[in-house]
Symmetry: C2
Subunit: 134 residues, 2 copies
């Protein structure tokens, strides 16, 4: 059975709007992969991706979704926001699994200075998290 | 009358595949705006945007489109390619006018090193072009 993208989207918008980190986890597949804006290599696995998404949601101010596209279990969601003084526009490209959870998420952001600002704020917190896992 | 996004897409794929720079111009509105990956400020006007798109098409190797989404006159087109040794993934967010030409195009690219490599190759050629216009 194909995923119900509209049902997913309603839940996704709710958890992002309420910044409900625990509820985000229910929308991620165990083997989720994430193509983060700064890096080519995919990040893998629910605990890592869930932690990173939590940091990103905290780091981007005035995060709001705009245009959205749905084609079967593939979604494209445009967002806008701010990191410090840097305005940004971005896209979430989402592939849902049959259970309606995110199996892959690729994120792209413009412009360059906002992407750098985001990376500079997120990378140290991720490094800290990864060090604590060892 | 709403734009026929499917007819646009067929023509767009053809001109990109054949790298037909002259034919690209027919698909751009006179007052087109472009949100380029490195910069926040929009670039404006058909001659400038047409020139820049030509340089970008020449600079990204193995440029291929992948997933695509259409919602009325709004399109999202995922692409992949390479700048030098840097693999990249990107998205074209396109708004068509009533005549089926691009009125606005926002482009986002990941990862950071490919975006920097693209900017480093395109920016000098655009500076040269702009200097020659004065």
């Amino acid at each position: 059975m194909p995923a119900d993208a509209h049902a997913f989207l309603e839940r996704w918008h709710h958890v992002v709007r309420t910044r409900d980190r625990a509820a985000v986890a229910d929308l991620l597949a165990d083997a989720i992969t994430l193509g983060a804006p700064p890096y080519w290599e995919k990040l893998e696995g629910k605990p890592l991706v869930h932690h990173l998404l939590g940091i990103i949601i905290e780091t981007i101010d005035e995060f709001t979704y705009h245009r959205e596209w749905i084609a079967g279990s593939e979604l494209a969601l445009e967002f806008r926001g701010r990191v410090g003084r840097r305005e940004l526009q971005g896209i979430d490209l989402i592939t849902l699994d049959d259970a309606g959870r995110i199996r892959n998420l690729d994120v792209m952001i413009r412009p360059l200075n906002a992407l750098e600002a985001l990376r500079d704020r997120v990378a140290p917190r991720m490094a800290e998290y990864l060090a604590a896992q060892r």
